[in-house]
Subunit: 81 residues, 2 copies
């Protein structure tokens, strides 16, 4: 089954990528943007078909590889779960 | 209003980052992963409160800065729209 993982910086953590995007938007003449935060998006195709076990695998994947729990939050959704 | 933008590589476009993640998962002993694709996730805080005009701004942001339409798809959702 397919999972969509989103990893975002925790509130208060400096986000230079987001700041760069906001600055670039200003340079392009696009106004009305109050803030930009950049995160990561990862699609994972799991062989597991049981939603509970798929969630357990995803928790491991997020904690051990995709997110740094000190500065990042993660969330995921399972397709068809 | 807040918008969540997701930019993903089009099908068929090589994704070395995704491949690297899949490889690292194997090294960590996490099996049952058939494929990984990495994309970008961006949260944009817009001053605009009208959903239609916010969408128009978002289209510009995606097309002119966030996504490369040759190799990437984008989608967005507006919070409370």
């Amino acid at each position: 089954m397919k999972a969509r993982v989103t990893v975002t910086l925790k509130t208060g953590v400096l986000d230079p990528q987001g700041k760069a995007i906001a600055h670039a938007l200003g340079s392009l003449g696009i106004d009305g943007v109050d803030g930009v935060r950049q995160g990561k998006y990862i699609e994972v195709e799991l062989a597991e078909t049981d939603p509970e076990r798929a969630k357990a695998t995803l928790e491991r994947i997020c904690k051990e590889l995709l997110a740094n729990p000190v500065i990042e939050n993660y969330r995921y959704e399972l397709e068809g779960a």
